[in-house]
């Protein structure tokens, strides 16, 4: 039934949680104190390279009647859009670069290259998702209202076909899912919205999406059709595929952040009187990384370091790798799990969970207290002697050991 008491689940005392918060605050302070010219140069060069790539892709599509040029242009443009949305847009809007005091690279002024409006994203993502991470009924990113990603959500008949179908559609049209999220279509249909607020949001979304649609599906196709090497249709198709490439990739990276096995879900009771330390703890337990090299890190907007990103959403992305070393050491010290794995394995796990949860609970083996995608402190009711330091080894016996122990009991 998902975690209802984070410290109890984590086998930590109040003092432990407080100390953990102090140690994480110290990491933040070190990074803030050392931000400087090197970091500023990194984001400026990333932006310059992305814009060059974007222009290159568009220019290649002036020859998009030729199959090779079509593919080259499409993939280049897709990659440019991925970088713009993830390593630049997402991170700039989190305020990771606000310290530079540059009005052109600032959370309050960045508008990104996708159909959703930045303003809406700052609400649904920066606020609702990052503050209430993985809390059922608060964080709409848990299933986006259409996919059953945890058995804490009640099974409904449409999940039977809808889970895999909607997951596929969401992946392909991710920018539209993101863009429409703040409009709360479900509430509009049920007449439970504030009409004035809805109209304002619809206009904001309409203006943004309209410009994006016109650019990719009218203006650029028309421009390249002036070239003898391209037709209106060839460029239009290329732009559509580039957008889909970006959508599928962004969706995969984001799903790897919160839905692979081991990323915990929480109930609303957790957040009542939640301290800073408990908030940190919930962020760590609710997020998952994936293993990465520099290329994968860059292309995922450094969201391969999802745990670090959720702990410090506004620290510069190029520093997450060094933060990760210190966070991992803290996880070892407090014997907390640090969920990570190869990208494809993590992504496959999200699909496996979603496929499994198409079925009603009676076909599922595990309960919501001890399942791969969700657990609760109740899984430890029969466990004793944890949350203390092992007198024999001097190591703390905490959550990680406790989970392994309980898992060992499971009949195979």
């Amino acid at each position: 039934m998902a975690v209802t008491d984070v410290p109890a689940f984590a086998h930590l005392t109040d003092a432990d949680v407080e100390n953990l918060a102090l140690e994480l605050d110290a990491i933040r302070q070190d990074i803030e104190d050392s931000r400087g010219e090197r970091d500023a140069r990194y984001i400026r060069r990333t932006i310059a390279a992305q814009r060059a790539l974007d222009v290159a892709g568009r220019v290649m599509l002036a020859a998009s009647s030729k199959r090779s040029a079509w593919w080259a242009g499409t993939i280049t443009l897709g990659v440019a859009k991925i970088i713009e949305n993830m390593e630049i847009g997402h991170n700039v809007m989190h305020g990771q670069w606000d310290w530079m005091n540059d009005p052109e690279i600032h959370s309050s002024s960045w508008e990104w290259d996708m159909s959703g409006a930045s303003k809406h994203w700052r609400f649904t993502h920066n606020f609702m998702h990052h503050k209430y991470t993985n809390i059922l009924g608060m964080d709409d990113d848990v299933g986006y209202g259409v996919i059953r990603v945890t058995r804490d959500a009640k099974w409904k008949p449409f999940n039977l076909y809808g889970n895999l179908l909607f997951n596929t559609l969401l992946a392909i049209g991710f920018e539209w899912g993101v863009g429409l999220q703040h409009l709360e279509l479900g509430k509009i249909f049920k007449g439970r919205d504030n009409r004035n607020a809805t109209l304002i949001r619809m206009r904001e979304f309409g203006v943004k999406a309209g410009h994006q649609l016109a650019k990719d599906y009218v203006v650029w196709p028309a421009l390249t059709s002036l070239s003898p090497g391209a037709t209106f249709k060839s460029t239009l198709k290329a732009n559509a595929v580039a957008n889909v490439i970006r959508n599928v990739w962004a969706n995969a990276v984001i799903f790897c952040g919160h839905f692979p096995d081991g990323a915990e879900k929480f109930t609303k009771t957790d957040m009542v009187g939640e301290s800073k330390g408990q908030w940190y703890l919930r962020q760590m337990l609710g997020s998952a990384n994936f293993d990465n090299g520099p290329a994968l890190a860059f292309m995922s907007g450094n969201l391969c370091h999802q745990i670090e990103h959720h702990l410090f959403p506004d620290l510069p992305s190029n520093r997450y790798a060094e933060i990760a070393v210190r966070v991992r050491a803290l996880c070892d010290k407090y014997d907390l799990p640090y969920t990570t794995g190869p990208f494809l394995v993590q992504y496959a796990k999200t699909w496996r969970t979603i496929a499994k949860l198409s079925l009603p609970d009676r076909f599922l083996k595990d309960t919501a207290d001890n399942a791969p995608e969700t657990r609760s402190e109740r899984m430890f009711t029969e466990l004793d002697g944890y949350g203390v330091t092992d007198p024999a080894t001097g190591r703390r016996r905490g959550l990680k050991t406790a989970i392994a122990t309980v898992r060992g009991w499971r009949p195979r």
């Binding site: 814009r51 809406h120 920066n126 650019k215």
Partner: protein, 381 residues
Amino acid sequence: MAKNSIKVSANVADTVRPTIAGADRRPGWHVLRRIVGQVTTPLLPDDYLKLANPLWSARELRGRVVEVRRETSDSATLVIKPGWGFSFDYQPGQYVGIGVLIDGRWRWRSYSLTSTPEASTTGARTISITVKAMPEGFLSTHLVDGLRPGTVVRLAAPQGNFVMPEPAPATVLFVTAGSGITPVMSMLRTLVRRDQITDIVHIHSAPTESDVMFGPELATLHDEHPGYRLLVRSTRTEGRLDLSQIGDVVPDWRERQAWACGPEGMLNDAERVWTAAGVVENLHLERFAVSRAAPHGAGGTVTFERSGKEIAVDGATPLMDAGERVGIQMPFGCRMGICQSCVVGLVDGHVRDLRTGVEHDPGTRIQTCVSAASGDCVLDV
């Protein structure tokens, strides 16, 4: 708080749209920019062009430093070529904001222009400022000693009321001290160009002769124009100028239009003397006083510019709470400093980040949920 009520009451700050400098002066170019903008949306054409040349953008005023010229041992003149969107129709005596990149951060200060707008009509499309390195001012020291020609700087449009009208008054008195001579230098150069040096008395104070900025130029001016009389006072040997005795030096000072610029004490003296003589309307003042953050934890009066409301708060109250207390619909989100939904402009004064204690300068954008007043401040809400 229930999710439903949060979503209905959501009040996220609007995304700040880029402003185009000089759009009204060049409507043709602006129409072109908007058409090409359909292709580059959500960016502007300028966002791509500035990668080729930093000056090819009117989204933010920029300039390139073309020359750094020593004036005295601790001052230098920066000659700057502004980029797109800069208007050369400034008035002599106005100041310009300049943003310099130091350790990855843009830092802003204002300095009087020392160039004359008249020069731009004859082809010199540059402006100049003259900076004195202040012992405690690390930005001014950087500008004097650390800036290389070729550096790109940000600019804010010229402004200020301390200006020389056109045509100039028949009789003029300048009272300057130290770097307070800079706005007057722009006026003098402009008057020379306009051939309006009719009857000017200029009293300038500096520690020694060698500390006088623009010394040779002023001397030449004095020699070539009988209408310009320069009186330099070396305060280290002669002591400070006593403005209450100014009649001994300039008997007709009451009849002259006077411009005074220098240290706070001198300006206060001038104000008192001119007021006592009943001719304060003849006196024009420019104060360079740098607003400084109050000592840690001091709080202050917060002014919300758009509504004009004010509230006095302590140094621990988040500005968001302060605004809500006087009934302002503050943009808000997480209320814990992570979501950037509440970011607004800090128009004036300083604020302190409650998490880290970092001070934010005027002109920056700040998170109201984790910032408190550090002295009096003005917010763009």
